[in-house]
Symmetry: C2
Subunit: 316 residues, 2 copies
């Protein structure tokens, strides 16, 4: 599993300190390049044209976005020279992050053969795969992640909403509160936050009871939607008027009898699962913090903790 | 839950047919704009400058990427005129998809106040939020999705690999085959594919036994990693030499005793779960195709199908 370039050692590939020039020219890799190409990057070094960059763990380079040339002409010259140089020393992938205030460099990089990889509000990441073999660079993010909250009180009433912008097929339908999780947000906090935002009700996360995987949703990306069981710890409703038309506590039976659930294979299945959970016939996945030396990160592992009396172990 | 712009009705916002001009000028929304602004877009209409676009479901517009002006000057003029016009008619979000062969338009759109939203190899999506209120446009994809395969044979041997590019902390470690799922790929097919690619072994998917959620992984995005139980249906090993150093069947006991598992909280927990599965003390989530009228899509719902004899129901 390629873990991306972020964990790459950030050592310098090359700084055009004149004292280094001879040393670089004597690198053994230089011998594999053609005479013309050598001349090209040698000239580039002499003129201090090669873009500042660091090596990544996979034989590639990451251009330093904070030390790009000042103007278009210098960037175009440096980019061409750098590519020749990187090719001559056998580099593989090139990562070029162009901050939004360097947007005028984008067409120049495209002209040089760079491809778009991904973009965030503040930058566009472009890549160039040098080897004459299949591109091994990791893909960009592929999924959006949504959560839905099944919140039921002691009177067996479900917390439901009517959305303002739901498309005509859902007009008048009472549904579970749903939403997308925010950047770096946990599923268990995201589910409670969405319920709180849409309805004003405070909840405690119980478990993930199921998840749905769908494709070609927004921007042709895929979607993972986690159905979460939540326990209400307050009851008063106060809706978010920008997104929600109405919210209320609705008897479970009445909720399930709505035609949009009765006539929909997916919603029917989801409600079956939630009702099995209530009867304690179903075991969802609960979040547990785990630490790993593998990537020195704390993360959340969701798994099923069955009570000993709930399972019949047949040891192998 | 905003479901993105793809499902938006693709009706025309405006085509500069001279016969329509008077009708448009008489739209009630026009009255709210200032005299200067009205003059501006009126002039734009007369000169056929407004970019071709369609409405989305959320009061926004989607510029038609196939009908952009031919050159930079015309694009800059049209973009400014279009923004004035869209503002004057109370539009909210503007989606501007610039194909890679129109990269020269990127700096012009940035100059006009557009922001980067996301990019794929063939295009850059830019957005402009017109209202003087918080931006309600949906975020771009937030997650990459990985899979790991726990494949164990009748001799209680686990299928393990050594990766070529794994970082020094994992040097010499035997681990489960892992990888990212491809665009629009299912978790259950992705897990089997990765095992096949890395080891040559054919498998049948059993279930998702747990998943891990981590943040700030590649490109600051989050990562969902699904641990999958797979049943081998072949045994001969043939490795993918570009990614894998070695693969073999390793006794479960020996695999678990490796220091990188013994000393790692996360891997220990994952192995505990896999062993519980083998003992039938644990119930993972199995994939089921579901169809929903909600978005007219077939998708996969992962849930826990406990055998009746495996659970003690205590009906509420």
């Amino acid at each position: 599993m390629l873990s991306g370039v972020r964990s790459a050692a950030r050592r310098k590939l090359f700084r055009a300190d004149p004292a280094d020039l001879l040393g670089v020219a004597n690198w053994p890799e230089a011998g594999v390049a053609g005479h013309h190409q050598q001349q090209h990057w040698w000239a580039a070094l002499e003129h201090n044209f090669v873009l500042e960059s660091t090596d990544d763990e996979y034989g590639g380079v990451v251009v330093d976005a904070d030390r790009l040339p000042a103007d278009k002409a210098a960037f175009a010259r440096s980019l061409a020279a750098s590519l020749s140089y990187w090719k001559s020393v056998g580099k593989k992938g090139v990562w070029l992050k162009l901050p939004v205030d360097r947007a005028e460099f984008v067409p120049l990089a495209v002209k040089e053969g760079f491809k778009y990889h991904h973009a965030e509000e503040s930058y566009l990441m472009m890549t160039y795969w040098i080897p004459d073999e299949p591109n091994m660079l990791p893909a960009n993010a592929s999924h959006q992640v949504g959560v839905g909250g099944f919140v039921i009180n002691d009177q067996m009433e479900v917390l439901v909403v009517q959305e303002k912008y739901c498309g005509s097929s859902l007009d008048g339908v009472w549904k579970l509160p749903t939403g997308f999780i925010l950047a770096s947000e946990e599923i268990y906090t995201g589910a409670s936050r969405e319920v709180k935002e849409e309805t004003g009700v405070d909840t405690e996360f119980v478990d993930v009871v199921a998840f749905r995987h769908a494709h070609n949703v927004a921007f042709q990306k895929s979607d993972l939607f986690f159905i979460c069981m939540l326990r209400p710890v307050s009851s008063e409703i106060k809706i978010d008027e920008t997104e929600i038309q109405a919210a209320k506590w609705m008897p479970l039976e009445e909720f399930v009898k709505q035609p949009f659930i009765q006539e929909d294979h997916m919603f029917q299945k989801i409600m079956d699962i939630c009702i099995q959970c209530l009867r304690k016939c179903y075991c969802g996945l609960t979040p547990h913090h785990v630490v790993s030396r593998f990537d020195d990160r704390t993360s959340t592992l969701y798994y099923n903790v069955a009570e000993p009396e709930d399972v019949n172990c047949s040891a192998t």
